[in-house]
Amino acid sequence: MTREAYNPLSSKFHDWVVTVDHKKLGVMYIVTGILYLIVAGSEALMMRWQLAIPNNDILSPDTFNAFFTMHGTTMIFLVGMPILLGAANYFIPLMIGARDMAFPRLNAFGFWLFFFGALLLYFSFLGGQGLSGEEGAPNVGWFAYAPLTSTTFSPGSATDYWVISLFVAGLGSIMTAINLVTTILTMRCDGMTLMKMPLFAWMMLVDAALILIVLPPLAVIQIMLLLDRQFGAHFFDAQAGADPLIWQHLFWFFGHPEVYILIIPGFAYISEVIPVFSRKVLFGYPLMVAATVSIGFISLGVWAHHMFAVGLSPAVLAYFSGATFLVGVPTGMKIFNWIATMWGGHIRFATPMLFATGFVSMFVLGGLTGIMLAVVPMDWQLSDTYFVVGHFHWVLFGGLLFAIFSGFFYWFPKVTGRLLNETLGKWQFWFLFVGFLVTFGPMHMAGFEGMPRRIYTFMPGRGLELWNMLSSIGAAIQVVGFILFVINVFWSLRKGKIAGDDPWDAWTLEWSTTSPPPPWNFAETPQIASRRPLWDLKHPDDPDWKYE
């Protein structure tokens, strides 16, 4: 191994900008994602400040509307997507024993499209105001229902920023998804049949396939909206006889699978972390694969459960309700399999496992409140209320974000060569966990008490004060957790314990190369015989391949 000579900063910068290495691109994705996490988190914090007491006036209505729009859009497209694509970018080739992605330059292209699209979205804070004088950032909600987005009701260019930046970023995601599908299906090392891939690779395969299928409809409606706004077309113009539900159907055909696109990588990280820290092989691997694939398929047929209140016919309501219930089955299978993996193991509660356990325990409840929302008459009461806000934050925060932190603590040593500080990590977990419960638990109650979502203030004397105050306090507690995380990252990068190649005594291929891995990953591409190639190497007397 050649050690890189000292480079001046500009040259290092140049290295990163022109790179086509999947690892560098992965790191850039994740770093960008975390930066936007902080931005979108701050927006959420401002909203909680505004909602702490009734009739508060910290934020004006339009600013509040812009903040929740940007918070949702950012969290989904500029935090969730890049982190999951980045992690896949970094670890898929390492896990399947490949030197790089199938199309390295396309990979860079995908990243930069995302990067510039994201910048364009945030430029709206400046540009939207400066050029039209009408308004700043987009304020039509992350699902931007027509006809509120038409020029009549949203003049100025804020909504165009939303459309165009997400269109560009979406193109980037499609490029990366093409790359991931191809890499997983054609670049596996010798011996790695599909059923011997790490579950991570399986889940990212399903994930990338979903991206390929559902992002084009989003692109189509974005183009349609752009044609409406810029060229006078009538796709969503009620005056011309258009049906506003077309937007909703196509948006949710994208939007619902998008939620799975976000959470499946969470499953993927958890499915790698839990076995290693329980010292057991993953329980029911084939069932997990089957469950993941079926979640992928079912997710394509449930979109209208976001539209139970739009006046669909009873038969359609019943179908979408049933399909939505069905999602609960494979999801439940996964949860039970994770618990069964822990059962009978020797569980070490290092920070990754702590977050993984937090994920499993919270995701159960997020799934169950999802079942509640699938009961159509209950949805007539709960849809568009804070109960829904509580529900999807339970899934995306208690689920996805905990999984991301789990993966972050788990793979940080592989990426940087240094371990994150365990003490800070545990403090971070507990602050986030408690803050999470206090923030999002009361939101369910506020929903029961009749609080619609997306309101910039609420009326006093209607039983909402306590729940909102609690939520805001919870948000403040979370801030401590996030600060600890940032401190931990910076401290550990300089002074963290040297990790070595395999700090967790793990079993997948990425731990067989150096930390950080060289640009070519493996000097010689590996050959494997089982799902846990490193187990075979560590226990040559009792290898896995005899049993699979």
Binding site: L148, F325, G328, F336, I371, G450, P452, G463
Partner: protein, 332 residues
Amino acid sequence: MGRIPLLLILFFATNSSIALAGPENLSIFDPVSPAATPIRDLFMLVFGVIGIIFVITEGALIWSIIRYRAKGDETKEPPQVYGSNPIEVAWTVIPIIIVFTLFLVTTRSIYSLDMQEAPEGALKVKATGHQWWWEFEYEDLGITTAGELHVPEGIPVFVELRSADVIHSFWVPRLAGKIDCIPNRENHLWFQADEVGTWYGQCAEFCGSQHAKMLIRVISEKEVDFNSWVANQQLQAAEIPTEANGKETFLSLACINCHNIQGVTTVGGFGPDLTHLMSRDTIASGAANNSTDNLRLWLQNPDSIKEGALMPNMMLSDKEIDALMEYLQTLK
């Protein structure tokens, strides 16, 4: 309801949250309408089901956390168990049975609650969502009002939902679930207030700047009271000669471009009908009480009550406002 203790506990828990809410509560657990009560019952069933699942799953998780925590001195890996057909079949089939049952119940309740035709003897109301207020039209009675929906107690109300601009959603939690108001579409909703009282609600679909203050009040009254309210609303705006000054001011200003007063001007329709303005408890779609001070403030600067409201600041002089106030207060 409440045959087993778990459901009782849930019932009390939800009831205590209602108690916390006070008299103006919007709790979905405190229904006063046959369109909302079955949903509450459904809640109790589903709470029970998911409660049991939750306890079992978290129990297993917590048990394995406690029982299988590494002692730190293990020199051997634990036995590697790959899977178990019986248990995997069990936790596939049992959830299927559960969701199948829930599916049956859901389907039945959709059909029983989704009413496409107005029932016999129902009061028909047309509710139109505007940015950011509600228009209520009783076509059979020839009444148009805004923000506050008066209904008789114990009689089903069949609401036709429409939108004048963007998507809104009509939601009064204690009376019925929400249904959206969508341009170019006509949706329906029904409820029946079984008690006399005021039931609160608001727009539930994001509709722009003042989505938060697009409030609804449904006022259910004894039939006699309702009938006298109807009789009053059916009157055209009284011609009161002493108030001619204020009326002229009203007619000379841009007010008439948006606001109608039956018997006086019917050019507008973009803003709420003002024929019986003073019979309402609130102005600006429930954003403020209908007091002299608030009304004056509203005329001076609508943004101070409801920032971003589509009623423009007309830059009226004090004299004009005095005249308008005088006139508006005759619209009883």
